[in-house]
Amino acid sequence: MDLAWFLLLAPLAASIAILLNLHRKPNYAIGASVGSASVCFLTALAVATGAVKAPTPFEWISVPGLTVDIGMILDPLSKGMLLVVTGVGLLVHIFSIGYMAHDPSRGRFFGGLSIFMFSMTGIVLADNLIMLFLFWEGVGLSSYLLIGFWYEKESAAQAANKAFVCNRIADFGFMLGIITFWWIMGTVSVDPQILGQCYAKASMPQFSSTLQEWGAAQTLILHPGGISAHSAELVTLMVVALFCGCIGKSAMFPLHVWLPDAMEGPTPVSALIHAATMVAAGVYMLCRIYPILALSQAGMFLIACTGCFTAIFAALIAVQQNDIKRILAYSTLSQLGYMVMAVGCGGPDAAMFHLTTHAFFKALLFLAAGSVIHALHEEQDIWKMGGLWNKIPLTFWTFAIGMIALSGVPPFAGFFSKDYILTVAYTYGHGFYWVGVVTAFLTAFYMTRLVAVAFFGPPRTDAAKHPHESPPVMTVPLVILAVLSVIGGWGVYEFGIQSYYHNWSLDVLRDDGISYQAPAEISSAVPSGFVFFGILLSAFLYVNTASDPLNIPVLARKFYIDEFYDNVLVVLQQICANIVAWFDSWILEGLILRGAAYLSAGLGELLRLFQTGSLQTYAYIFTLGGGILIYITLFAH
């Protein structure tokens, strides 16, 4: 058997074992889950070095016209993503041993983590869109189970449902996109060879597609159904539909509402699933099918706009949140917006670069936040913290590193990837660049606010006066992630991650025309200046304050989007449902059916002698009647 299958089988075996038996024995469950995560990480290392090759795929569905394989693509894109997922995943598993130590249901928790690892590696490795969709729903399921981990809490159960339904709505579009993809291409495979060929044949270096060129590309791809040419509109529709999947999973506006609520789950889950990896799956998917997206200029523009808007929209909301995890959640939305904008602006490599560095520092921030929450006995309101910096120094310093990396201060990891995205955006359109710069300013502002309020000033509650530092099983992963957040961009900028993905995107697109050499008129100094200004302004406002000097209700209430959904859309849907249900029981069943029944009952008044009221009699009479009828029909001839 090919060793690469261990990437999927190890966590699957762990989750099955935990489901069947080990959930009753938490320590064995932890052993199985952490063990399988380690196996995954080691296999991923072997895959990255090239020691383990892609296994032979097997047919999952095979009928004439539709073949779905379970196979793996191992190219720079998936290898890099695999290292991020399994590496961060392993660290979060280890952190959780400490964080969940006192929860009696922790066996179930680790079972959920293993389902997640199984599904997430499946998404990364998938060699076709249906396989990707299988695992895509799998991560959705594990996310649902883990958000609702403390299911006795009404809010947690509600958040879990919201996450699943939002993702389902998006997957409605995604599934349509996948089938349209198959309809146009005649395959669901996302083999870079095939996609790159398609892109090259469509020959659109500047996104200047014409119908004829696209049709010419199609005849080369040889659709078995013989579809020769598709309109540019259909291609755009497909791109938009596929992008819907990303809108759900990566929580883009307008379906972003589930992600902040998902913070009801345990904090390690927020770190791994709802910050570092799963929510980035949407971005990964876009990069995987990038050559197809690039066929539609309008589609790319929509993607760029959605990403750009989500970036600044979520950053604005984050400025006025008070729950430490919700601030980080809105920050995640904003950073995902950056990545999606990068894809739309034609820089999938920039998006993957930022995805990687973001995974490091956002996992770090969430785990450090978990350490703070742990230290303060489940306190999440930053205004009830204060003065923590010298009481839990390791947590403080690692959190500070994460905050600096996220803000994009040179030379931390976030600086390089964010700068790269901004350069790509500038090449695509100056407006995107400036929105990106303002978002960078806001990011620096709200992160400084968070640190200033939570860690500095006087302790505002009793719990904040006597925090306790977390055990090494929790702090060691923090330190490792902190190191990665420092060097994740610096030093590897030229020959590391950035050029790694850059080479991949050139390879896939086979187009030497793409180059993101920074245009002479912009320099990193501009966004960096904005970042420093944001940090200083925020520090000036928030160090040593007892309450928030800014009070902007529209931001604190998140632009009233949740209120709109809950009070308008959900209510409308329920009203429709009630009207239709009323019609069904009173008009269709009541008036028409029973009307017909009473009519015949009136005619059958003569037969009331037979109405004995005993049901068996009725049934037997019916059988008899049926029999007589059959007899008559058969023998009447």
Partner: protein, 503 residues
């Protein structure tokens, strides 16, 4: 051709068990043994079937009766890749239905005989290759359904039973008229009740368009009533809500599939021009199943009626797959019939357990049951996920093929509505999980120790092997098909490819 077929055993086992029960054998145990035998046999047949050719296997054919003026009736049995999965479905759901039934139910011998008769009838309908037996076996199964609801049903059982009896009998009679008209419309020397003969003849000598366009709607409405095609669905929700769980499992899981099977096997291939003419009507009606029944489901306030409407809604996928009439869509239909049978049986069975153990089926009164009944919660979640089409469970494989098939047939707007159906299903099914199992637990379901005699002792979980094995069995079957759909596809696809007029 005249040798005995192993299929005969599938009919003899329940028959023998019924005889034994009448002779005072322990009712539930005897029924369970017969059902288990059938299950083992049907799994064996899945392995023994010669899948590569796709034709009928295990055939036996002997003349049965010759009636004046009518073609001869044969006792003709055989299965192919379309009916064999349904045989398996019948066997596994029958076994589960027998085992979940309470052993101390009143009038037990009668009850288990009726269950066995349902199983026998469904099995017979799926393995018969003669129209006469195809129809009669289904009637055999319907009558005990009415009796089970009327005698052992829950709330409103008299009314529900009366309504379902009237409605389904009407459907059966319309169907009978359609089937007879089909045979009688043929030239006298070609008339036959034999499904294979009819199919061969009619694919080369189709009936005149005029007769097809009259006969097809008879079959469509007849079968449509039996399966709950909108707007002929009103019998189902109250019927399933008051039926004893085992009867709802058998009817919603298995017996309803008879109508879809009949459309694949008889109506559409034999009256293809009529189908082409009427398929737009069918398309409009199936939108009713998705949108109308979907909305009605959202408004339900009780678990059993919600499940009843949702099983009506999900028939939309099957009808959509039928309309595509291409290999992808039809293979999807067969997979989905099995998958829906498993998930519907699970949901109705579990709903019975929830109602029985908590004494409540209204969403407003339920809550927090995951704490006292974790296994019930896990199984119900699995069943819900299956019903929602989450990959890894069987329904997804079937649904996704129906979606692809309908794109292929250029039914894109209908495919879009069908895919949106998965969103609606997620909304009501997740809401059901949440309101039943999550949230704070109402005080009356707290596990109590030493409760006074006669008081409610709180909610209990599935504890003994007998209590959970039937549900685990159905779940595992759904997981196996969901993870490895190719196991079933190898059997189904060659037979589907042999159907006439495929696009």
């Amino acid at each position: 051709m005249n040798s005995l077929s192993p299929l005969l055993l599938l009919l003899l086992a329940p028959l023998a068990a019924m005889v034994a029960i009448v002779m005072k054998a322990p009712a539930q145990r005897t029924a369970a043994i017969a059902a288990a035998l059938n299950l083992v046999l049907s799994i064996g047949l899945l392995f023994l079937y010669h899948a590569a050719q796709g034709g009928y296997d295990f055939v036996m054919d002997c003349p049965w009766a010759i009636l004046p003026g009518l073609p001869p009736i044969h006792f003709h049995l055989g299965v192919d890749g379309i009916s064999l999965p349904l045989v398996f479905l019948t066997a596994i759901v029958s076994f589960a239905a027998v085992v979940v039934s309470p052993g101390n139910i009143r009038r037990a011998p009668e009850y288990f005989c009726y269950l066995l008769l349902m199983s026998l009838g469904a099995m017979g309908a799926f393995i018969s290759l003669d129209l006469f037996f195809f129809y009669i076996f289904h009637e055999f199964a319907l009558i005990p359904t009415f009796l089970l609801i009327g005698i052992w049903g829950g709330q409103n059982r008299q009314f529900a039973s009366f309504q379902i009896t009237l409605y389904l009998m009407t459907g059966s009679l319309i169907l009978l008229a359609g089937l007879l008209a089909l045979v009688m419309a043929m030239p006298p020397d070609a008339r036959s009740f034999d499904i294979t003969t009819l199919q061969t003849y009619l694919s080369t000598h189709p009936l005149s368009l005029a007769s097809q366009s009259v006969i097809f709607p008879l079959l469509l409405i007849g079968f449509g009533i039996l399966v709950g095609l909108f707007p002929f669905h009103s019998w189902a929700p109250p019927g399933y809500a008051s039926a004893p769980p085992a009867a709802a499992m058998m009817h919603a899981g298995v017996l309803k599939k008879f109508a879809i099977y009949g459309l694949i096997r008889v109506a559409i291939p034999m009256l293809h021009d009529g189908f082409e003419q009427w398929k737009y009507v069918l398309l409009i009606l199936l939108l009713g199943n998705f949108i109308y029944a979907g909305f009605v489901t959202l408004a339900q306030k009780e678990l059993p009626t919600m499940l009843g409407f949702s099983s009506i809604m999900h028939m939309g996928y099957l009808f959509l797959g039928l309309v595509t009439w291409n290999v992808i869509g039809l293979t999807g239909v067969v997979i989905l019939m099995v998958a829906h049978g498993l998930s519907a049986a699970l949901l109705f069975g579990l709903s019975g357990e929830i109602t029985h153990r908590s004494g409540e089926n209204r969403f407003t009164e339920l809550g927090g049951l995951a704490k006292p009944a974790p296994l019930l919660a896990v199984l119900f979640s699995f069943a819900s996920m299956a019903s929602m089409g989450v990959p890894g469970l069987a329904n997804f494989a079937g649904e996704v093929m129906v979606f692809f098939g309908s794109f292929s047939a250029k039914l894109i707007p209908f495919a879009a509505v069908a895919i949106y159906g998965t969103v609606i299903t997620a909304i009501f099914q997740l809401r059901a999980i949440k309101t039943i199992f999550y949230g704070p637990i109402p005080a009356r379901y707290q596990p109590q120790s030493g409760a006074a005699a006669g008081e409610a002792t709180g909610m209990t979980d599935l504890n003994t092997l007998v209590e959970y094995v039937p549900f685990v069995l159905l779940t595992v079957a759904s997981l196996i098909i969901g993870f490895m759909p190719f196991l079933l596809l190898h059997i189904v696809e060659p037979s589907v490819s042999l159907l006439p007029f495929l696009k």
